[in-house]
């Protein structure tokens, strides 16, 4: 609060004071009272007024500063009225009560939508759980009745499964309750699981995979990492060149992290689009050429990495290669 604006606010009482002084002066003057006496009396009166004026300003300023300090340290600003002291001043008290009512209604709305979000997430979780049962039996049926047709069906079912998983992880994204568990994970096992999942389409697409130095441990959530690696591998299959597609997977360690990289020699990404591939809904030239792109896969990867304290970045040269590097902590970080 600025002093000048306070003066502006108090302009009425200042004017009243001045008018009062003039009236007193005129009246006492008419009564022919000694001018010195009048002068002394008015000076004392003014001193009282000015001191009172300043004190009131200081008190208000301090009070507002206190509230602002509380607000500054409060992560959920809308909880202010729950935290601030109840004021003594009757005017402040009235505002305090108004604020409290407004906040209460806000709080109700916030918890209502939080609950709705939680309910929806739980519904997605159970829906995914349910739909995986027919997916499982369909896959088993394909396995037990191998033919060219069931091979193709199996491919399609795996794609359905992939979309279902995307929905599940999307629902898990911005949730208060974290569904992950950081522990020691063997990278090779995760990679082999992903390759086993994509075996059929990788063989059909004549893709060769080479692993180098992946027998490494890192601290992350196994299922989340598997999901992320799977999205990247699925992209490598999708954006391959006509022939001789290769996927190289390897890792490097430094003192703090393991860098897991997945490189393909596919169609690559335009330099102008490289910065945007992790954006939600971004499909780019490659994605538009393909009808099945949604721009969700890599967005999810980046969000999930963020939550797990991992990094993800992409390098690419158009028509030559795409390399995605995931940085995973080597040690278990202490939760804050």
């Amino acid at each position: 609060m600025k002093f000048t604006s306070y003066i502006k606010d108090q302009i009425n009482s200042i004017l009243a004071f001045l008018i009062f002084c003039i009236i007193i002066f005129a009246y006492t003057n008419a009564l022919q009272i000694d001018k010195n006496v009048i002068f002394i009396l008015l000076t004392i009166y003014s001193l009282f007024f000015v001191t009172g004026f300043f004190m009131a300003f200081q008190r208000k300023k301090k009070y507002l500063q206190e509230i602002e300090a509380i607000l500054e340290n409060l992560p959920e600003k809308y909880l202010l009225s729950e935290v601030m002291k109840k004021p003594k001043n009757s005017e402040d008290l009235a505002y305090y009560k108004i604020l409290k009512r407004a906040n209460k209604s806000m709080l109700e709305n916030v918890s209502k939508s939080q609950k709705a979000q939680k309910d929806y997430k739980e519904y997605i979780e159970s829906w995914v759980h349910e739909i995986k049962i027919p997916i499982t039996s369909a896959k088993l049926l394909c396995e037990n009745h191998k033919s060219e047709l069931t091979n193709k069906m199996d491919d399609e079912i795996e794609e359905i499964n992939n979309f279902v998983e995307q929905a599940l992880f999307y629902a898990r994204l911005d949730c208060v309750s974290n569904d992950f568990m950081i522990r020691k994970v063997n990278l090779e096992e995760v990679i082999r699981n992903v390759l086993a999942r994509n075996k059929k389409s990788m063989i059909q697409n004549q893709i060769k995979v080479e692993l180098s130095n992946v027998q490494t441990d890192a601290y992350t959530d196994e299922k989340w990492l598997e999901f992320i690696v799977n999205q990247i591998i699925v992209n490598s299959i999708k954006y391959k060149k006509e022939k001789a597609q290769e996927v190289l997977i390897g890792s490097e360690e430094n003192a703090k992290n393991v860098k897991l990289w997945i490189q393909d020699n596919g169609i690559g990404i335009k330099p102008s689009e490289l910065d945007r591939i992790f954006e939600k809904g971004f499909t780019g030239t490659n994605g538009r050429r393909q009808t099945k792109s949604t721009g969700i896969g890599l967005y999810l990867c980046q969000k999930l990495c963020e939550q797990l304290g991992m990094g993800i970045e992409a390098e690419s040269k158009e028509n030559e290669f795409t390399k995605i590097t995931i940085t995973i902590p080597r040690e278990k970080k202490i939760e804050q």
């Binding site: 995914v128 759980h129 995986k132 049962i133 027919p134 997916i135 499982t136 039996s137 896959k139 088993l140 049926l141 396995e143 037990n144 079912i157 499964n161 599940l168 569904d179 992950f180 568990m181 522990r183 082999r192 699981n193 390759l195 086993a196 999942r197 075996k199 990788m202 063989i203 004549q206 893709i207 060769k208 995979v209 080479e210 692993l211 959530d221 196994e222 299922k223 001789a244």
Partner: protein, 222 residues
């Protein structure tokens, strides 16, 4: 023949899983009445249990805990619940493994086999395969013929053992590639040709020629 009990309430999955496991050389027993499952399991004297989590009466976790009070029989949870907490919950109840639905069939079979081997130490006895006097030692990764021995790479061993175990049949290239992928070698058509060429050279060094026949447009035959 190891016996596996399947506890799964979805009929389709149960029946198909039974066929799959029978085709892979296991005896299979199904639980179809979900009253007092743990007692039924204990009565059946099996070697391994595939246990679903969501079941009509008691959930799989509870059944697992109850079995653990009486038996150390290997238990694998097979469920579509896939969060880390679910898995932890399963392991805490004393399960030996946890596999997510929809499972990858080769992975499921490998885990079953590993667990059976670990528990009953029935590691494959025939680590050596012999054919026409040619001995393939899988553990040592060597090939012996007329007292001459040469070393093979892991990839070569896997390819040759698959050919040996399918002798007198024409084996499609795609089947060999599929087998290699299931065994951690991620080859494509070209790399298979390279592997077979190398194998033929090594066999020639041992004095064996024309063992691996090429059937044009079909595959290989031993």
């Amino acid at each position: 023949m190891p016996k596996i009990v399947i506890v799964e309430d979805d009929k389709e999955i149960r029946e198909e899983l039974k066929i799959l496991l029978q085709n892979s050389g296991y005896e299979v027993d199904l639980i179809t009445d979900f009253e007092n499952v743990e007692q039924q399991i204990l009565n059946r004297e099996s070697h391994l249990i595939l246990l679903d989590v969501n079941l009509p009466q008691k959930d799989g976790y509870e059944i697992c805990s109850k079995i653990r009070t009486k038996s150390k029989i290997p238990i694998i949870f097979v469920t579509s619940k896939n969060s880390a907490m679910d898995e932890l919950n399963g392991i805490m109840r004393g399960a030996d493994d946890y596999i997510e639905k929809p499972y990858n069939v080769p992975i499921l079979l490998a885990r079953i086999k590993n667990l059976l081997n670990r528990t009953y130490s029935t590691e494959d006895q025939d680590r050596k395969i012999e054919y026409k006097g040619i001995v393939l030692d899988i553990l040592k990764s060597t090939l012996t013929y007329r007292e001459k021995e040469i070393e093979l790479t892991k990839t070569e061993i896997k390819t040759l053992s698959y050919l040996f175990s399918n002798k007198d049949k024409i084996i499609a290239r795609a089947d060999i590639i599929d087998f290699l992928w299931d065994n951690g070698v991620y080859a494509d058509d070209n790399s298979l040709s390279v592997i077979v060429t190398r194998l033929r050279e090594k066999l020639k060094d041992l004095g064996i020629e024309n063992l691996i026949e090429t059937k044009r447009g079909q595959g290989y035959k031993i």
